[in-house]
Amino acid sequence: MGIYFKKDILLFWRDRKEVLVALLLPIALTLILGFALPGWVNNSNPSLEMKVALVNQNRHTEGVARFHEQLKGSLLSPDEQDGLVEETAMLDLDPEAMLMGMFRSEDVSRYIEVLQLDHETAYTKLKAGEVTAVITIPETYTLDSLNKLLLNEGDGAALLLTAEEDTTKVSVLQNMLNGLLSTVNYQAALSHAAGSGSDGSTWSAPRTPVGGLERIEGVRMITSFQYFAFAITIFVTLSISITMASKSITEKREKVFTRLLYSGARPMQFQLGKMASTFCIALLQMLVVILLSHVLFQLFPGRPLSFWLGLGIFMVLLCAVVAAFAGLFTAMVFRMKDGDVAVGISFIALILLGVIGGSMVPMYILPDWLMEVGRLTPNGLALTSLIQWIQGTPLQELWLPMLSLGIYTVIIMAAGLWMFPKKGGI
């Protein structure tokens, strides 16, 4: 078997360039994706960074004054009028101040920059794409809102949000403004409903929910770097099995295999040599990619040796599955009349495994049942158990995926050996 092993390693060595590309690809991709979505790594969210224009056409003081005038002309008693005037002062409903207050708050100002502009400039900037959206406070905003809030007259006031198209940023902004407005609305509704029943000051302060993140002892958060590094590496490792099978097409075409048989070699050894070399190449590639990413991106700072050993166990198990796949695909190449059909089928199988196993698309966009199937695929199993291992799950709890990976290896290998042409079969 040793000599076959050497032959296959040499085959890879002859294609150094391609192997190098396969090595560099996942690293480059992790780099790109890790930088593209840094918001996943630390809490500020630069992917949502935006500039917003605020156009204030509202005449606040004039609105308040006109409201007071209106009150004087109304049929309300002087006492009630005074009460309402007092309430206007208390409400402090300057929309500009309210919005600016929100935008200047620490959480929001980190990613939203507000420019106070006039109508024309704001719209030119919006068209030029310099601002994401324009918030307009209409002329009679204060008056309309006071009428509705205090007297329950009119249709209320509306802020205007203008944007070019519906993007995530616009929905975030929309959510934020809606949240702010609905808080005011809600308070108004409460005092309105309570006002007609009790005097409004009798209720006890409500309990606020504690909420927040549940911290579990010993569990570490995963960063997007870690997630991508593994998801992509696993898929690229898996595709080594296809590489190996494609190399067998050449061996079939050049009748290498037939010649080997004439020399009295046992077919089984030929295939075992393929699997062994695939295993080594796959493991080598995974190790290089993970170690290099670790050095470049500080993937796992300060983890003990036992952590790395556990990582190693999963890598070995995954590479065993990859080796078994290589054996199966090779057997298919030799068994089928057209080797390309065999590679084509393996190729489709691999892409499907990659997609449902979460190596190529974020898993949560898949339908539920596919997600369930996906966690049973070998790459899905490897990915989920690696994620759990990074979080600090003890190895004892991960024996099931480990065992499953082992079972996959045995079954796929057995299928490959069974399919592989026997002596005299070719």
Partner: protein, 367 residues
């Protein structure tokens, strides 16, 4: 050129299995991946005490009032496993009148969800406190509900043209994305026959025949492009008529984009085949390169999520970016050719460049 097309057709007729398999599986896969998508993000909710109690079911109803998230009851075990295995971004644990977020991965979704849940809880608790003080709980709630039906302050969202801002359809984007992604595999496989022909010597015989070189290439290009068009069209028709996806009403333009995209992908595959030379090397790198393109182009994410200039720059060179822009433009924003010329001309530019360099490489090197 007709003879080249005919030779391809004869090959397919003698051995239709593989091509049909490729097209069939791509269609099924698009249906599988794209069909079950919902707009809302699903979040599992479980209770500390096991079964959800009546009061906790009320919370579930309240949480589901928004339109971004869909909360659903799950048992604790499976909800936690999902989060731990990275298959869900977060889950929510209800503890009477309080909640905890379960998450192990940092994600913007978790932050958004937390904000939503927090508001729902704060409001409801306040409402309960106030209505308890007011006595008449039912009347109080209905008064609030009627008041909020016509709230004093509202937000109007409009496009620059003064029309309603169109809702973006993420399900449609994913369907487009998957069909464009999977067609690359079929086309790549088809183009790889050129390198196979070279190795088996068929190419040399073709060169000796009276068929001109340009006709050979053009025949290959045309045939693979047609395969691509057929596959995408079938997928779109299924989604349009079986799943009722709204594709807009400019079908001619859609077809134009599909045809240009298929052609560009053929050109890209010819470039790859020119660089990689043998079918084996093509098979080795193609499956690793292709899945990266939709990922980098942001096909799986809502538009505007990716802002990194590096990533946007890299995405520019992938045909799928521009085809997606054109397709979503037609289907969602009802864009006409006036708005589409930019992505379409970018597609053509990529096609011309790839084809030029690719054929040059193929001609220069000998196997």
């Amino acid at each position: 050129m007709v003879s080249i097309l005919l030779s391809h057709w004869m090959r397919e007729r003698r051995n239709p299995f593989l091509l049909l398999l490729f097209i069939g599986i791509s269609i099924i896969a698009t249906l599988m991946f794209g069909g079950g998508m919902t707009q809302k993000m699903k979040i599992d909710v479980f209770s500390e005490t096991g079964e959800l109690k009546e009061s906790e079911k009320e919370w579930l109803l309240l949480l589901n009032k928004g339109d971004t998230f869909k909360f659903r009851a799950q048992d604790e075990q499976s909800a936690r496993t999902k989060v731990r295995e990275g298959r869900a971004d977060l889950a929510v644990k209800l503890t009477g009148d309080d909640y905890r977020i379960i998450a192990v991965k940092e994600s913007p979704n978790a932050q958004l969800a937390e904000q939503h849940i927090r508001t729902v809880f704060e409001r409801e608790l306040e409402l309960r406190a106030v209505s308890a003080a007011a006595g008449d709980e039912k009347g109080f709630r209905s008064r609030i509900d009627t008041y909020l039906e016509e709230p004093p302050l509202t937000l109007q969202v409009k496009g620059t043209d003064g029309e309603e801002l169109l809702r973006y359809d993420m399900g449609l984007q994913l369907m487009f994305g998957f069909s464009l992604f999977l067609v690359m595999l079929t086309i790549g496989f088809k183009v790889n026959t050129i390198t196979k022909d070279k190795i088996t010597g068929i190419w040399s015989r073709l060169i000796l025949s009276p068929v001109r070189k340009s006709e050979i290439y053009f025949g290959h290009l045309l045939y693979s492009t047609m395969i691509g068009i057929v596959q995408i069209t079938v997928v779109f028709l299924i989604f349009r008529y079986a799943f009722n996806f709204g594709l807009g009403h400019r079908y001619g333009l859609l077809l134009l984009v599909i045809a240009l995209y298929s052609m560009t992908i053929v050109a890209m595959c010819i470039l790859l085949a020119g660089i990689l030379r043998t079918p084996e090397k093509f098979n080795m790198l193609f499956p690793s390169i292709v899945p990266i393109m939709p990922l980098v182009s942001g096909v799986y994410m809502p538009p505007g999520t990716i802002t990194s200039p590096i990533l946007l720059g890299v995405a520019e060179i992938f045909p799928i970016t521009h085809a997606m822009e054109a397709l979503t433009g037609i289907a969602i924003y009802d864009n006409g050719i006036g708005e589409l010329w930019l992505p379409l001309s970018k597609l053509i530019l990529i096609a011309v460049l790839c084809m030029g360099i690719g054929i040059n490489l193929m001609e220069r090197r000998h196997v």
